[in-house]
Symmetry: C2
């Protein structure tokens, strides 16, 4: 058991080092040697957990959509908003999430399949929006898959713009504005009036999640 | 005159080479030597036009918002749509535009100010949306600057997602869906009914522009 925990810690150390190197160099220019030096682990330890540079990158990429369970709500549209605003808050505060998002936006990273986070976030959105549709929260013409894709794609750009302009300082303000620009096109007016789209929503949801005891895995 | 044209051609050769190298290597890893070798020009010729790697990158970055004059329309919202859909069409068809957009999304490019395209596209949007507002096309609560930023930022993400998932094949479909998701939240219903948001719009606008004689500069 202690050994298993040590393995988990080592894996995390390697991922943190990989995240740092990918962020500093970009995927294309980063090397496993640099990641090894940064992590301070043996080659054997690294290859026990990750088989290649791409494998390391996939590890960093998938950190951004881990640990994102948000509390259940009567309105499934509010759950979508909560997931989006929580992600914005984590981007502002968690370097690992930041590194994962940057990698998924690294258009010069050839030979790296960056579709995973887009598809996984898309699936979170589709599932919630299908529930929203079946309980009458969406306008009749809305296709949950298309709307989920629009939310995921536009979020990706808004975060990139916020990073380029001010290192994420205005991210939650921008994401709140994004929600106000997309949801009225997709959600019934009665549901719209009940939504909390304010910029503090992500931090509030995180606090709520941390205060709630998690089920044992 | 012939000399001036030669200089313009050389500058374009260098920019094309820089675009290719930045796209292959990412900004951080690219070097001036690689760009020199790709362009096949002398060091003197390169430094006559560009002072540094950042200067070359700014040249590539600004190519994406050049030559984007769209025809004047009665509806200024339609002009915004035309600019957006034309940009999507150019991204699908013009490697230089593609390289500029990728650079502006390269989050590992430290020491490169990538804010230019976001700000310039934002200004195009603000100007048109202010005109739209003053002639009553927008809903009363809409702030043209905020809406322009949302359109620019979300476009940036939609193109990145389309590139990651299918190398831009579905870009115009996705951008058309984006317009259908943002504009109903910002534009009066009467104007909405007059808009052409279909995916073929960008190609049609480009054909229209090419068929119209340009004013002599």
């Amino acid at each position: 058991m202690a050994e298993q925990q040590r393995a988990i810690r080592t894996r995390q150390t390697i991922l943190t080092a990989a995240a740092k190197i990918f962020e500093e160099r970009g995927y294309q220019a980063a090397t496993i040697s640099q990641i090894l030096a940064e992590a301070g682990v043996t080659k054997g330890a690294l290859y026990f957990h990750f088989q290649s540079k791409e494998d390391l990158a996939q590890g960093v990429l998938s950190e951004q959509d881990q640990h994102v369970t948000t509390p259940s709500r009567t309105s499934k549209v509010q759950e979508v908003v909560d997931a989006v605003m929580l992600h914005a808050h984590r981007l502002q505060t968690d370097p690992m999430v930041r590194a994962g998002v940057r990698l998924s936006m690294d258009q010069s990273a050839r030979n790296l399949d960056r579709s995973g986070p887009f598809l996984r976030w898309g699936n979170v959105g589709i599932t919630l929006l299908q529930q929203a549709k079946s309980q009458g929260e969406l306008l009749p013409h809305i296709d949950p898959a298309e709307t989920a894709d629009i939310i995921v794609g536009s979020f990706a750009g808004i975060q990139s713009m916020s990073q380029a302009l001010c290192e994420y300082r205005d991210l939650t303000t921008r994401v709140s504005a994004l929600m106000r620009h997309i949801l009225p096109s997709a959600v019934t007016p009665a549901v719209l009036t009940t939504l909390d789209l304010t910029e503090g929503r992500g931090a509030a949801v995180q606090a709520e999640t941390l205060a709630t005891p998690q089920p044992v895995q």
